[in-house]
């Protein structure tokens, strides 16, 4: 009985892992992508299979505030200058509701695409979206929005002259003194 009571798992352990964050998400890009493939490369399989899916993804980007410390903030009367770390992609979210199979054609001697195969194709699409983040201008927009938000926030705190700069090599570069 005692052992039974002691073995009861605390609720905390049910979640796989918890991570404390300090990110400020400043932009969300909603993007669409067509995912298509033609499965006709295996020589001994007669007939081919084709699938065309469309998906929508939400990409969020922003800055990591945990890197910011007092050394990155210089105050002189009503003037304040803040060095912020460069923006980065924070998350990509492809909801199941935003995935649609637009067209599927399966040869007479072939088997339909399994769910695992569709997920494999969608994973490739997810990776292509991730690698296109830089070319979409997500990072630049995230930095622009972050600067606008921090400026507005500091104005409300009473600062008249505000300077915001972004440092990409934040951890290696010493804050300006």
């Amino acid at each position: 009985m005692m052992l039974g009571c002691n073995n009861k798992k605390p609720a905390e352990q049910e979640v796989l892992a918890l991570k404390e964050m300090n990110d400020l998400a400043t932009v969300e890009y909603v993007v669409t992508k067509i995912i298509k493939t033609n499965d006709d490369k295996t020589w001994y399989k007669f007939g081919d299979r084709k699938i065309l899916m469309s998906c929508q993804a939400s990409i969020k980007a922003g800055i990591d505030f945990s890197l910011l410390n007092a050394d990155h903030i210089k105050i002189s009367g009503e003037e304040i200058s803040v060095e912020l770390p460069g923006a980065k992609m924070l998350s990509i979210n492809i909801k199941p509701e935003d995935i649609r199979v637009e067209y599927e054609e399966v040869g007479f001697l072939r088997q339909s695409f399994l769910q695992a195969e569709k997920d494999l194709l969608l994973t490739q699409g997810e990776n292509q979206i991730k690698s296109s983040v830089a070319s979409l201008g997500v990072i630049e927009t995230a930095e622009t929005n972050a600067a606008a938000f921090v400026t507005q926030f500091l104005k409300k705190l009473g600062y008249k002259r505000i300077s915001i700069t972004f440092v990409n090599d934040y951890n290696n570069k010493p804050p300006k003194g």
Binding site: A17, L18, D23, I92, P96, I99, D119, T123
Partner: protein, 213 residues
């Protein structure tokens, strides 16, 4: 006779040596490559921007979770047979469709600072009082790469699979709610805002959570 047999043996050994050498040099495919399925690969297609939204979300806690969801349903043909013949459905029949998915994802909690208004910040000399909105679950993310199909038997429509995947996401959200992730996110938001305002030159900082509307 013996000479020709010797020649055949030598020729066969020579051929085997050549095949072995070519395989080592990767000039000819292996048996596995020859009879294995070609990997499924998608074509390169452009990513199109649909909309851009401005955010100000302070992400304070992320929970990484793993859940198992399943769905079982009878094959419509078997149901029709039962209706006609009156025979009971056999639960062990392979005519039952079954889908078991393992979903790995993350629950992102934080504070939506866009909900702050002009009256949310009050400054008096070196003191500041800030009223922040309560933390909420900002996103529950289970991407296609986070799904693993454990069992898939029978034909599953895309709508039915979608419903199982949404069930996994809702389960993850419920678990996060049970474990009061938002309460932890609130504690961290207060701590982070206090630190940031102190670094901005304020001696006395008061952070208050707005009551949930």
């Amino acid at each position: 006779m013996l000479r020709s047999f010797k020649s055949v043996i030598i020729l066969a050994l020579l051929l085997a040596a050549i095949i072995f050498l070519f395989r080592k040099m990767d000039l000819i495919p292996s048996w596995k490559q020859l009879f294995g399925s070609a990997p499924l690969a998608i074509d390169q297609t452009p990513v199109l921007i649909k909309e851009i939204n401005e955010l100000a979300s302070l992400i304070t806690v992320t929970g990484y979770d793993e859940v198992v969801v399943d769905s079982i349903s009878a094959d419509p043909a078997q149901v029709a047979i039962k209706a006609i013949t009156g025979l009971p459905l056999n639960p062990f029949s392979p005519l039952y469709r079954k889908l078991v998915l393992i979903a790995r994802g993350q629950v992102i909690c934080g504070t939506d600072l866009k909900k702050m208004t002009d009256s949310s910040i009050r400054v008096f000399k070196d003191s500041v009082a800030v009223f922040i909105p309560p933390a909420e679950i900002l996103d529950v993310i289970v991407n296609p790469s986070g799904f693993e199909t454990f069992i898939e038997s029978g034909d599953w429509s895309d709508e039915a699979v979608k419903a199982v995947k949404v069930k996994a996401r809702n389960k993850m959200r419920d678990r996060a709610m049970q474990q009061q992730l938002t309460a932890k996110a609130n504690q961290r938001a207060v701590m982070l805002m206090t630190n940031m305002l102190q670094a901005s030159g304020f001696k006395k900082v008061s952070i208050t959570l707005n009551a949930k509307r």
